[in-house]
């Protein structure tokens, strides 16, 4: 997921001073290399702790960022003549990104809690702890996914209606 990684590195680069002090003991300011190290560290941790299903969502989100960025670039460079079409395309990308992020938050909250055993959860594993989910105060994965479908349907209905 290049976009995600890129975003991570830019933010840490812009504020390199603070995280540099906290991740690796010495209080002196580090150079860019250390910011890259931090990014590397975050990236490694991300790879090890994230379940595969969530990574799939992340890949989709990165793809959407890419799509949105491309459309925006086109709009800036080549003009925004079919403005309706640009808007609905861009909004579709942004909206889907946001919905996917919401889905990710709803489904990965508990997986973050069980990161102590970061085995990649397959489909079967999900069905296994579905009962546990429903007892908790949160939203079950099935409910979250159904909501996601519902939101996406509305989103794409609006987009198609708006595209002219």
């Amino acid at each position: 997921m290049p976009a995600k990684r890129h975003a991570a590195s830019t933010t840490s680069a812009s504020t390199a001073s603070t995280p540099a002090t906290l991740s690796s003991g010495p209080a002196t300011l580090k150079t860019n290399a250390s910011a890259a190290q931090i990014a590397q560290h975050v990236w490694q941790q991300y790879l090890t702790t994230t379940p595969q299903r969530t990574m799939l969502l992340d890949a989709f989100m990165a793809f959407l960022v890419l799509i949105g960025g491309l459309q925006f670039l086109y709009c800036v460079l080549a003009g925004n003549y079919p403005f309706n079409a640009f808007l609905s395309g861009f909004c579709a990308a942004v909206g889907q990104f946001v919905l996917t992020a919401s889905l990710r938050m709803q489904t990965s909250d508990d997986s973050r809690a069980v990161t102590s055993k970061p085995s990649s959860k397959g489909k079967n594993a999900r069905f296994a702890d579905e009962d546990v989910e429903e007892e908790g105060p949160g939203i079950s994965h099935e409910r979250a996914f159904a909501d996601y479908i519902f939101g996406s349907l509305i989103l794409h209905f609006f987009c198609i209606n708006f595209i002219n």
Binding site: T15, L87, S88, M105, F150, F158
Partner: protein, 742 residues
Amino acid sequence: MAESSIDVLLKGSSGRTTRGLLRIIILLTIAAAAVASRLFSVIRFESIIHEFDPWFNFRATKYLVENGFYSFWDWFDDRTWHPLGRVTGGTLYPGLMVTSGVIYHILRFLTIPVDIRNICVLLAPAFSGLTALAMYLLTCEMSSSPSAGLLAAAFMGITPGYISRSVAGSYDNEAIAIFLLVFTFFLWIKAVKNGSIMWGALTALFYGYMVSAWGGYVFITNLIPLHVFVLICMGRYSTRVYISYTTWYALGTLGSMQIPFVGFLPIRNSDHMSALGVFGLIQLVAFAEFIRGYLPGKQFQKLLTSMVLLVFGLGFGGLVLLSISGVIAPWSGRFYSLWDTGYAKIHIPIIASVSEHQPTAWPAFFFDLNFLIWLFPAGVFICFQKLKDEHVFVIIYAVLSSYFAGVMVRLMLTLTPIVCVAAALALSAILDNFLVLSKPDPEAVAKASAEDSKSFRSSRSPIVGIYSYFSKTVVTCSMSLYLLMFVAHCTWVTSNAYSSPSVVLASKMPDGSQFIIDDYREAYYWLRQNTPDNAKIMSWWDYGYQIGGMADRPTLVDNNTWNNTHIATVGKAMSSREEVSYPILRQHDVDYVLVVFGGLLGYSGDDLNKFLWMVRIAEGIWPDEISERDYFTARGEYRVDEEATPTMKNSLMYKMSYYNYNSLFPAGQAVDRVRGVKLPAESPQLNTLEEAFTSENWIIRIYKVKDLDNLGRDHSNAVAFDKGLKRKRATKKKGPRVLRTE
């Protein structure tokens, strides 16, 4: 025996169902009361559309029902704003018309043929019943007390602040918009509480409906982001907030752009930028939270705040830059007038001229909300005590809408829901404390005091509570008394102040019987019957919608005040001398001019009282031709009697109002009852217009614009010639054509 059976009903599981049933019955009764109290006007007068704007909505609805949805969407109306026309389909909020159209077709499908007019008249009361239910749901989210929701629903149902815009016949956008406003807020609170995409999407859907129904949707567009922003600033960011807000924004913005009238505004207009900014902010916050999961350390908070500040600064700078460079439309004039109450009067007289855009006078608050207005701060205080996410919302809403309601009379409407919520919270807290609390067990008290005696006196916690029946009775009775007075006040205000259709006027005869003054409809019907189908009527813009709806004739300007210049043209024609006005009238193909004159009846809302606004609006466009000062006497008075200025006396409006008026009175005793002055003994002389129709009580006067003179003389010469001739031969009939044949 009776007591035990009641106990069976009220306790345990059957008690729960009984209470649920009771609650449903109470809610239905409240909804019925809300509908019923809005029917005064139908019973007193008849099933008729009120006021001005509803007439346009009614006309548009008829067009929608007759021609179908797609031609309504593409409707170009060439019968208004002559000669410009109006792209009506693209410049209105279609929600109201589509709603009643759908209801009409559903009823037809159920083989209940109801006239579309009756649907339009009764739509507002029906939706106010729904508003009461939505209010119940919203308030139940705020409080665990069972009484708060019911109280809020009852308040919302009958409070005059809302009734003022939703009596039967008041077929205006607000009729459904307030229901949508309350319901959208309910869904939003639900979404924030649950953090589910579904509630967020539902919020967005109802927000889209709201956008299609009322321009006041901007209030929601700014209130929800503000709520989220305050939550983030309070350090209450959570995934629930992220999910509900981003879902709402992404879907709601797209939804709002589906309405042609709104179009690209949500991304171009500054009014909507706060929502976009908070959307970006919440993305960053969420990303920061995400990174935080991987980066240990407490300094992260510092990183977070610095990042937020940086981005906020960048965003604000970018917004300012874009606004200056003109990519984003500047704030609309109505918006400026919200912050600077003097703004409109200086820059946009047409906004200031509308009475509902004036600042609110303070008695109006008590008049519209009665005792809710002093319970309101108490309710807000209770919200501060609990201060969960939804209470923050109530507080923000209360602060914002109190300010706005103080600025514009019309925005009292947005204040009313939150006042009902807060007042219901306060009142239910009072009632719960005074009714439910039972006396503590004496043994427990004794034990507690025994334990207390061992410890220090200062560390004892005395048992606090209201246990005496006397205080309970006093407070409960006084509260019930206030509630009863509230109901009486609401009924009185509704029946006296808000139930007049203003198309039909009512007055009392000396013996107390009702006397209906129906001049408006008389005149409009005259126009419909006696003028050609495409005769252009010029009047001040207030009457444009009514002429279009009732007389079905093209008008020059109407209440959709989108073209200030065109209105100023009409203002100039009305306020200039005949020699100046006549070419304007000819250029605009005007056939008839309509003025409203209340001098005979003492009807104060007539054109002469609005005349200064016509002058001001015309002066805004032609400052060197029209000057407001010329219409005041040397001492700065606005006079219409002998001492009126020559400019005033020569203006078309003055002449049309008082033409032939003195013929009603004995010589030299003509009196204008609105302004309470004696008029000049001689009638003003009209050269270019001739009187066509005057209604029974002289409220409406219609003049026909004369054609060009056949002999090429100007009109004043022609009239003088006719008069000279008439003096010699009194037996001859008047009129130039008769003369010409000789």
